[in-house]
Amino acid sequence: MTTNPTTLPLAAGVTSASRLTQLGLAAFFGLFIVGFAGFSHISAVHNAAHDARHSLAFPCH
C-alpha cells in the first residue's frame, strides 16, 4: 500500500562536495566545448564550423 515506485534514488551523495565539484567541472567543460565550436571568433574555427553553425542556428557572421 505504501510503496512508491516513482521515488528516485536521490539520497546517495547529492550533497557530497566531491559530487558537486565533479558536476561543476563537467558543466564548465561542456560550456567550453559548445562555446569554442559555436561562438569562437577565430576565423579558422568559424570557417571550419560554418555550415554546422548555420544549421544549429548559432549567431553567425
Binding site: P9, L23, A26, F29, A37, D51, A52, F58, H61
Partner: protein, 241 residues
C-alpha cells in the same frame, strides 16, 4: 572523479551518434539551402559595393561596410574537406551539448533510460533552439543581421534564462517560483533580440523560410536522438552512485 569520467564517457558516445546523424540530416536538409544562399551572397556585393568610382582618401569607411568574411583566413576547400569539417564540428558540438544535458540530469538523479533521455532532449531543444530561435531565427549566409557580439550575448542569456525557468518549473513546487520561472522564460523576448538596421537581402524569402523550418526540424530530431542515446547509454553502462 568517477562521476566526471562517466559523464564524459556517456556524452562522448551519445554525441558521436547524434553528431553523425545530424551531419546526415544536414546534408539532406539544410546544407543545400546554405549553398544556394551563398550564390546570392557572393553575387550581391558586386552590385552594391563597387558602384560609383569615387576614390576618396578615407576609403576605409566604404571598405568596412563589405561583408565580414576574412578572405585571408584558412577555410576548408569545398567538397569533401568542407563536409569533413562540418561533421567534426557537429560531433564536437554534440558532445558539448551532451555533457551539459547529462550533467544537468545528474542533479535530478540521472537518466534512468532512453525515454527519460528523450524528455531531457526536448528540454535541450527548447533551451538551445526554440527560445533563441524565436528572436534570432536560423539564418542563411547573406541574411542581414545585427552586431555579432550583441546577438551572441542575447542568445546565451536567453538560453540560460530558459534553462533556469524550465528547471524551476520542473523541480520546484512553490507558486512564487513558478511565477518566476515563467518570467525568466518570457523576459528575454520582451527585451528583444538585436535587430539589423535594414532587412534588405538578396536571399529570397522562401529560401530563408524553408531554412528556418528545416534547421528547426533537424535540431529537434538531433536533440531527441542525443537525449535518447544518452539515457540509453547511461542506464546500460553507468552504475548508480
Amino acid at each position: 572523479m568517477s562521476l566526471f569520467r562517466n559523464i564524459v564517457f556517456v556524452s562522448a558516445l551519445a554525441g558521436l551518434v547524434a553528431g553523425l546523424a545530424m551531419t546526415g540530416m544536414q546534408y539532406a536538409g539544410t546544407v543545400p539551402l546554405i549553398l544556394q544562399a551563398e550564390t546570392y551572397e557572393n553575387a550581391a556585393p558586386a552590385a552594391h559595393d563597387h558602384g560609383p568610382a569615387v576614390q576618396t582618401s578615407d576609403g576605409a569607411a566604404v571598405a568596412a561596410h563589405s561583408h565580414a568574411h576574412d578572405e585571408e583566413a584558412w577555410a576548408p576547400a569545398d567538397g569533401f574537406e568542407r563536409s569533413a569539417f562540418t561533421a567534426l564540428a557537429n560531433i564536437v558540438t554534440a558532445i558539448g551539448f551532451a555533457i551539459l544535458l547529462v550533467t544537468a540530469s545528474e542533479f535530478a538523479g540521472g537518466l534512468a533510460g532512453w525515454r527519460q533521455g528523450v524528455f531531457w532532449g526536448l528540454a535541450g531543444f527548447a533551451v538551445f533552439t526554440l527560445a533563441p530561435g524565436l528572436g534570432l531565427p536560423p539564418e542563411l549566409p547573406g541574411m542581414p543581421a545585427a552586431d555579432l557580439e550583441a546577438r551572441q550575448v542575447w542568445w546565451v542569456a536567453t538560453a540560460a534564462a530558459t534553462a533556469a525557468g524550465l528547471a524551476l518549473l520542473a523541480f520546484t513546487r512553490a507558486l512564487p517560483l513558478g511565477v518566476l520561472a515563467v518570467a525568466l522564460i518570457v523576459v528575454p523576448h520582451l527585451v528583444g533580440a538585436p535587430k539589423p538596421a535594414s532587412f534588405d537581402t538578396a536571399v529570397p524569402e522562401t529560401l530563408a523560410h524553408d531554412f528556418v523550418v528545416m534547421a528547426s526540424m533537424v535540431s529537434l530530431v538531433f536533440w531527441v536522438l542525443l537525449g535518447g542515446a544518452a539515457g540509453f547509454i547511461r542506464s546500460r553502462f553507468m552504475q548508480p552512485a
